[in-house]
Subunit: 302 residues, 2 copies
C-alpha cells in the first residue's frame, strides 16, 4: 500500500542541513519531519523544501505544507478530474488556474485533448522555478506543451484585466495556499484575496457558464475556510450549482475539501469517455467524493 | 467544522506533567502533541493518557494513538454501523468484540434494540478502568446495560473456548491495536495473534453465518497490515464475501481501513430501518465507504 516516491529528480545526498522540521497544524498539534532542508528562502512568501525518507520531497510555503512527492497526485487529481468529468465530454476548452504555479493542476488538465488553452497565473515566480528543479514529476508530460501559458502576476489583478477584456473560460481552478492560517489573525496570506466575495464576482463574469472549483483546506483541523468559502459561493452562485467534495491527501492528515460551482446537471455522475493515466481518481471515486461525513453536513447546514 | 471536544470528564487542570509527546508514524515522520500527560503506566502494555487542547484526551498504547475524545466517533461508528447495516434488519443478536476494552464499539452496538448480547473480551483490564475514569463519553448510554458483558482474557483463548463449547455469534468485531508496528520487527504486539490465519479459522467456526469485521490501520503510512489481513481473509472466507471499506479518522492522519466478511448480498446497500444517534455515519456515508482509491485497489490486486 505504501506507494514508492516517484520523484524523477536526482537525490540530493549530503545537500542541505539535517533538521527536525515542525509544521504546526494547530496550537498544540504538530507534524514533525526528520530530513534535510535542501532549499529555503524568504521573499514574497517563505519557501522551504525538505527531503524526507517517507514523503520524498516536500514543499512548504510559510511553514504550511503544499505538497509532497509521494502523495501530491491525490490532491491534484481530485482538484482537476472531478470538475473535468462533471461536465459533458469535450466542453472544457479554456482553463484558468489561479495559483497552481507548481504545475500539478496543469499537468492533469493537459491530459485532456479537448483542452485548447491553459493559463497558470501565480504571484510568486519562484514556485515554478523550484518545481522545475526539485519536483520534475509535477511538470506536464510535455513540459513545452504549446497550450500552456505561465503568467507571473497576482491572480486577482489578472482576473480583473480579463473582466475588462471580456475574456472567458470554461473552467477556473483556484489552487492557492490556505488563507490566513498563520499564528496571528492579522497575518494575511498572499492568497487572502482569492477567498473573497469580490474575487468570485469577477470569476463569474469571466466564467459565466463554466465550472469554478476552489480548494478549501482540511476542515477538521483548520479554521473554518470551507464554511467561509461556502458562504461566499452561496452569495455569488446559484445555490443549486454548488457542490462540495473531498479527498484524503495523506500528508494533509484529515480529508481535504473542495468546493465547486457547476452549472451542469448531476456532476456526481462522471461524463467523460476516458480517464487518463491516474493513480487516485476513477469513476467510482468520482461519485463517492461528493459524499460528506454527517458532521460536515451538519456544520455546513446542508 | 471544528467539532467541540465532547468529553464529559472533568478537566484535569494542573494534573500531570506538561510534555511535547511524539508519536512516530514512520521512521522520520512524527505526530507531535503539546499537552499534559495525566496518566502513564507500564504493564501488559504501556498506556499513556495525554490531555491536549486540540484533541481533548488521547489514549496511547505502546506509543500508538488508540483514540481521542474529539474524533473517536468516526472510528467507532465506521467499525460498527457498516457491518450492522450491511445485513437484513434485526439479524444481529449476539455480538463478540475482540479487544475493544475502551467500550466505544460496544456503545455503538448497544444502540440497536435487536442486539441481545454483547461480549467484550480484552486482555488488559486497565483499558476499561481508565476509560471509565478518563473517557466517560465512550461508555454505552446505559453503562450498566444488562446485555453487556466484559471479560478480561486473551481473545484468542476465549475464542478457542467458544469453539469447544459450540457458542456462536452473528457479528464479531476485531477491534485491537495494530499488530507489530513497534520500532523493531521483533516486537510483537499483544494483538499479534488476532491477525493470524488460525484465529480467523476459529472465528469462522463460532460465526459460520455471520459478519466478521476487523480494523486494519492506515494503509498509507503503516506496514502492509491491510494487505496481510486481506490475504488471510481470502484463505479463510469465500472471496465473494470479502469487502474492504475505509473512514477518515482525522487523528490517524490518512484513511483507516476495515475488512469485513459478510455472507449477505450487497452490503454496500444499508438495510437497517433507522440509524441511531450518529455523528459520522449515515446511509450515504455507508455506500461511499466501500469505494477505495484506485491506488489501494491496485496494491490489493482488486
Amino acid at each position: 500500500m505504501i506507494r514508492k516516491v516517484m520523484s524523477r529528480a536526482l537525490p540530493s545526498e549530503g545537500k542541505g542541513v539535517r533538521v527536525f522540521y515542525g509544521e504546526f497544524i494547530n496550537v498544540d498539534y504538530v507534524f514533525g519531519y526528520i530530513g534535510r532542508l535542501i532549499h529555503g528562502e524568504s521573499g514574497l512568501q517563505n519557501i522551504y523544501i525538505l527531503e524526507n525518507e517517507f514523503w520524498g520531497r516536500m514543499l512548504f510555503i510559510n511553514n504550511n505544507l503544499q505538497f509532497t512527492s509521494r502523495d501530491e497526485f491525490v490532491y491534484h487529481e481530485a482538484l482537476v478530474h472531478i470538475p473535468m468529468q462533471s461536465v459533458p465530454d469535450g466542453k472544457i476548452k479554456k482553463v484558468l488556474i489561479c495559483g497552481g504555479g507548481d504545475y500539478g493542476a496543469a499537468r492533469e488538465v493537459l491530459k485532456y485533448s479537448c483542452v485548447e488553452e491553459v493559463i497558470i497565473v501565480d504571484i510568486d515566480p519562484r514556485v515554478p522555478k523550484l518545481v522545475e528543479e526539485y519536483f520534475p514529476e509535477l511538470l506536464p508530460e510535455n513540459p513545452k506543451d504549446p497550450r500552456l501559458h505561465l503568467i507571473t502576476e497576482d491572480a486577482y489583478v489578472l482576473v480583473d484585466q480579463y473582466v475588462k477584456e471580456g475574456k472567458t473560460f470554461d473552467l477556473i481552478i483556484v489552487d492557492s495556499t490556505d488563507p490566513d492560517i498563520g499564528e496571528s489573525e492579522n497575518i494575511q496570506e498572499l492568497s487572502h484575496a482569492l477567498f473573497g466575495i469580490d474575487f468570485h464576482q469577477k470569476l463569474l463574469k469571466i466564467c459565466p457558464e463554466g465550472v469554478i472549483v476552489q480548494q478549501c483546506g482540511t476542515p477538521f483541523t483548520m479554521k473554518n475556510i470551507l464554511i467561509g468559502v461556502h458562504r461566499i459561493y452561496r452569495s455569488v452562485y446559484p445555490e443549486n450549482q454548488i457542490y462540495i467534495y473531498r479527498a484524503n491527501v495523506p500528508s494533509f492528515g484529515s480529508d481535504n475539501a473542495y468546493i465547486m460551482r457547476c452549472p451542469f446537471e448531476y456532476p456526481q455522475i462522471p461524463k467523460g469517455k476516458v480517464i487518463i493515466n491516474t493513480l487516485y481518481y476513477d469513476f467510482a471515486v468520482h461519485g463517492s467524493s461528493f459524499v460528506l461525513p454527517k458532521f460536515w453536513r451538519v456544520e455546513l447546514g446542508l
